[in-house]
């Protein structure tokens, strides 16, 4: 008898050894994602989860309010442009890092100069590459010099995470990566690579534009398998997951204790066409405007959006997200779903029997298959070339891709410069190679007056749609599933702001 109870108790202990503690009960939030940053420091990873963590544990001089879209002072009390390439920041007094170190203008300069130093081998270079140097004026004032006049400077300034300068100098980036210290609303309490990352509320947080967090502890785990994530959510092992497929979202919606919410993101999907003929194929149909327009008409974007992409997605008509600065929606050429018109255009171009083409893709198989099905219906026989993400980039740059099904998140930057210029500014990724477009875009990037920038971007965008260089497909919604007691509001930049979430009583 006694042995029995002992065994039972032992079993209970063993079995509960891994049981998670209740989220709302101890004001903690357990969240999971399918990947995690190998290196947690903001400049040393380029996965979305790293961006999320960088907002939680670090701060930038200014902060973009997700609701209103305005740039608010954060670490800096004030910020202004002195001339075309110089920004002056006046730092807020009394900011303290997680380890107690005072944060002022010196730290800003130290961060910028250290990250620009090639010896530090920064990976997410685009966080810093727009700057050339930083100089301290006094303890509260610092001047940042841009590499060249850069229109979206404010947007990029929001991603300039400031590292504690003294620690950076004494320990170096590698040590800092293993024991990270920042200024953000949460401090890294535990960093067990591959196991979990625990963030705890920082009591001495200055607040600023992010405000004071309500939730005390954030526990992150990487769970690669979506089914496992859902299973954990349904059994109470997790409080928050994201990136659900529409079918999964639909199924979770009815479940007790679970709230499913969709949010827009700035990520878009597009079909790039080899308009400039870089692949060197003979009689390349894609160089013909009529063929490109036919392709635009052939794809049932509204149908795919409605049935496959998910709630919150919208059909895209421009080579940029409508929310991005400079992405005009006026005067653009729209192509509605019209397979008959597509066939007529193809016949006009001399392809009454259709043609064969390859379509390269690396994600979202079902959507690509749907597109292939649509194309087949008008006679275009698209053969799927499924590759890894980096092969996709490499092949596009090498001019090997005829049709490329791709996605772009613009690193959550609300500016056409982060997207359109990238794809149409005579860069290696530019498949269209249109001089007028490229010139206009680059000019828009360099101008600093917002009105002037819009003026310069608009004709470029119109021309891209008129020439059908792309098939802009749709915007990407993100679906989250959470414990229903969690008060969480998704923001459109794919960065869950847990410092604004709370447990409902």
């Amino acid at each position: 008898m006694r042995f029995g109870t002992l065994a039972a108790a032992l079993a209970a202990t063993l079995l509960s050894a891994g049981a998670a503690k209740a989220g709302p009960a101890d004001n903690s939030l357990r969240w999971a994602s399918d990947s995690e940053p190998a290196n947690i420091l903001p400049y040393y990873n380029n996965v979305r989860e790293g961006v999320v963590l960088s907002y939680l544990a670090w701060d930038a001089p200014i902060y973009r309010d997700p609701a209103s879209g305005e740039y608010k002072p954060h670490l800096a009390e004030s910020f202004k442009l002195l001339d075309d390439t110089t920004i002056e920041l006046k730092m807020r007094p009394g900011i303290v890092a997680h380890n107690g170190e005072t944060i002022d203008a010196n730290d800003v300069a130290q961060t910028v100069n250290a990250m620009l130093d090639p010896a530090n081998k920064v990976i997410a270079f685009n966080r810093i590459s727009w700057l050339k140097s930083a100089e301290v004026v006094d303890d509260r004032t610092v001047r940042l010099t841009m590499a060249k006049p850069f229109g979206p400077w404010q947007e990029y300034l929001t991603t300039l995470a400031i590292l504690p300068g003294d620690l950076l100098k004494s320990e170096g980036v590698e040590a800092l990566a293993r024991s990270p210290v920042g200024t953000g609303p949460y401090r890294v309490a535990e960093l067990s690579p591959g196991r979990q990352i625990v963030l705890e509320r920082f009591d001495k947080y200055f607040g600023g534009a992010k405000g004071q967090p309500s939730i005390e502890k954030l526990v992150f785990r990487r769970i690669p398998e979506r089914n496992t994530q859902m299973a954990e959510l349904m059994t109470g092992g997790l409080d928050w997951i994201w990136r659900l497929q529409p079918d999964q979202a639909r199924n979770l919606k009815g479940r007790r204790g679970i709230r499913v919410v969709s949010g827009e993101t700035i990520r878009i999907f597009y079909l790039g066409l080899d308009a400039a003929g870089r692949t060197g194929t003979e009689n390349n149909p894609l160089t013909d405007l009529r063929v490109r327009r036919a392709i635009n008409h052939a794809i049932d974007r509204p149908g795919i959006v409605r049935n496959l992409v998910g709630e919150g997605a919208q059909v895209l008509n421009t080579p940029c997200h409508p929310e991005q600065f400079g992405c005009t929606q006026d005067g653009i050429t729209k192509y509605d779903y019209d397979p008959a018109k597509a066939k007529a255009l193809l016949a006009e171009a001399g392809y009454a029997d259709g043609f064969d083409v390859s379509i390269t893709a690396y994600r979202e198989r079902p959507w690509v298959e749907a597109i292939i099905g649509n194309l087949r219906a008008v006679g275009i026989r698209a053969k799927l070339n499924w590759v890894q993400a980096d092969t996709f980039s490499g092949d596009t740059r090498a001019g090997k891709v005829q049709m490329g099904f791709g996605s772009w998140g613009s690193t959550s930057l609300y500016d056409v410069a982060a997207l359109t210029t990238y794809f149409f500014g005579k860069t290696p990724d530019d498949q269209a190679r249109d001089d007028t477009v490229a010139q206009a875009l680059l000019a828009g990037d360099a101008a600093t007056d917002p009105a002037k920038r819009k003026e310069l971007y608009a004709p470029a965008i119109r021309r891209i749609t008129e020439q059908a260089y792309w098939v802009p497909l749709w915007t990407f919604p993100l679906t989250y599933a959470t414990n229903e007691k969690l008060d969480f509001t998704p923001s459109a930049d794919e960065v869950p702001r847990f410092f604004n979430s709370r447990w409902k009583q």
Binding site: N227, D247, I304, L308, R365, V368, A370, Q388
Partner: protein
């Protein structure tokens, strides 16, 4: 790969030997019972092959035709109300008829299994027989090759090959063929080794037969039973491995209706639409079981009494 295949050379020798057990009691077993496994598995396999061959006539729809308005319809036995008669086994996430995809998928799974087995069988048998027959340096070289192959992770090879050549059916067959030969080599080596010292071999050598002739006429026929057993096993392995590769995104490419790919695609909605993974998963199970039992049955028939 994933908890599956390869056993290293000497261990497999043991297994190969031990897998040929025939207790004296076997003689007492009624004939019909002994052949039950063989007959039933042969029938099942034949049924699958026929279904595969007759797919164009049996399938109610084209397996590639999408119908976005008819997505994820359940089969009639899951939810009779929502089910549609024209899609008896439901539809997948792009509205393609599941029954048709299952039927055409039989072709792909059988093709992959068979040809992967043939490729790996050719490579492995040649290596194994040569190693078993000549011994010495040849044996060391083959041993080296086998251990090298075992130490190379399958994923890495698959990833590299798929990256360079794309993920077509031919590529998958070749990848599997070049990765699954080790067991053939090991078992054939062991079997050849056992046969090596037999009188007929020595006799053939004595009268001056050329080596190729000896191998072809004397060795091969006598190791054929082992070959058949291992071939059936490897065919099953190839089919399972294709499913695992599809799980990781390295198998055949959509829209091919391979069962492995269907299982992998159904994984996304497994918790809510379990029939989507059950159907192709069960199909793979049945096929693999049939092939394994067939191999067992053939072995039981062909192996003489007592340990070889």
């Amino acid at each position: 790969m994933p908890g599956s295949t390869p056993v290293s050379a000497p261990g497999e020798e043991l297994a190969a030997q031990a897998a040929l057990p025939v207790p004296a009691a076997r003689r007492r077993r009624p004939r019909w019972q002994r052949n039950l496994g063989l007959i039933s598995s042969a029938l099942v396999l034949a049924a699958i092959v026929i279904a595969a061959l007759a797919a164009p006539w049996l399938a109610p729809h084209d397996p590639y035709v999408q119908s976005l308005n008819d997505r994820l319809l359940p089969p009639f036995f899951v939810d009779a109300e929502r089910a549609v008669p024209s899609h008896p086994l439901g539809t997948d996430n792009l509205g393609r008829d599941y029954l048709s995809r299952l039927l055409y998928g039989a072709r792909i799974s059988l093709l992959i299994g068979f040809f992967a087995m043939v490729v790996s069988g050719l490579i492995g048998t040649v290596m194994g027989v040569l190693a078993g027959y000549f011994g010495g340096r040849t044996d060391t070289v083959v041993s080296f090759l086998v251990t090298t192959r075992l130490s190379l992770p399958i994923i890495m090879v698959a990833l590299a090959v798929v990256s360079v050549f794309g993920g077509s059916l031919e590529v998958v067959v070749l990848v599997l063929g070049f990765l699954l030969w080790d067991r053939f080599a090991v078992v054939m080596r062991s079997a050849t080794h056992q046969v090596r010292g037999r009188e007929y071999i020595l006799a053939a050598q004595a009268i001056g037969c050329s080596v190729p002739r000896i191998l072809w006429q004397e060795v091969l026929p006598n190791v054929l039973s082992s070959l058949v057993v291992i071939a059936s096993y490897e065919m099953a392995q190839a089919i399972l491995l294709e499913a695992a590769l599809s799980f990781l995104g390295l198998g055949v490419q959509p829209p091919l209706p391979s069962w492995g790919l269907m299982v992998s695609e159904a994984k996304e909605v497994m918790l809510f639409e379990p029939w989507m993974i059950m159907l192709p998963g069960a199909a793979i199970c049945v096929l693999v079981l049939a092939i394994n039992l067939l191999g067992d049955g053939i072995r039981d028939l062909t192996v003489p009494e007592g340990r070889a």
